[in-house]
Amino acid sequence: MKNQLKVLRAQHGMTQEDLSQQLGVSRQAVNALETEKHSPSLDLAYRIAAVFDLPIDQIFESPYEKPRKNGRLK
């Protein structure tokens, strides 16, 4: 899932290790999030949002467009 994690982390002057400790996950997990090798659970997404004090949709880019006429997500 595309995200702004690397940018936000750099803006806050944090290393992957720093962020992993605040989130209570491994450094590998932070790296996997940044390189889009892992899509976070809702719980982890909320923890990340709490660390940066931002809404989730400003950190993670929704992979879905607005519903089309038939109501199905693209």
């Binding site: 996950v25 491994s26 996997a32 899509s39 660390v51």
Partner: protein, 136 residues
């Protein structure tokens, strides 16, 4: 800022716990096998021999428990990656052992002892792990 971890242990502590538990169980496995190799159980009666076989296997069950406990306590990314590696390794090991079993039945291949399945599983696990590094 407060850590937002749901666990009271850090990921490093959880990993260390797994390494210690695994080392203890595998040391037990080696110790019982060494004792058997050097004849400590040579005079065991049939019932004793069955007990010995179970005692040798018990540390391996303990090792699997240590791994499952690690998966339970690890963060969601590590848990997902470990689960994928475990499933793929188990599948390949089962396919290989089944294939070998049929080769024994139909192609007179030499008999492979069942206890080789455990080291084979870890061998396969080691081979597939570098290729499974994503949870997606």
């Amino acid at each position: 800022m407060t850590a937002l971890s749901p666990s009271h242990l850090s990921q490093d502590q959880i990993r260390r716990q797994y390494v210690i538990r695994s080392s203890l169980f595998l040391a037990g496995y080696v110790a019982v096998n060494m004792a058997a190799i050097f004849g400590a159980f040579d005079d065991a009666k049939p019932r004793g021999a069955i007990a010995l076989a179970l005692v040798v296997a018990a540390p391996l069950a303990g090792h699997i428990w240590a791994l499952l406990a690690y998966m339970r306590d690890a963060d969601e990314f590590m848990r997902a990656v470990m689960a994928r590696r475990f499933i793929v390794s188990s599948g390949i090991t089962m396919a290989l052992t089944c294939a070998w079993g049929f080769m024994e039945s139909y192609a007179q291949a030499w008999h492979a002892p069942g206890f080789l399945m455990y080291p084979l599983f870890w061998l396969v696990h080691g081979a597939v792990s570098p290729f499974i590094r994503s949870s997606n």
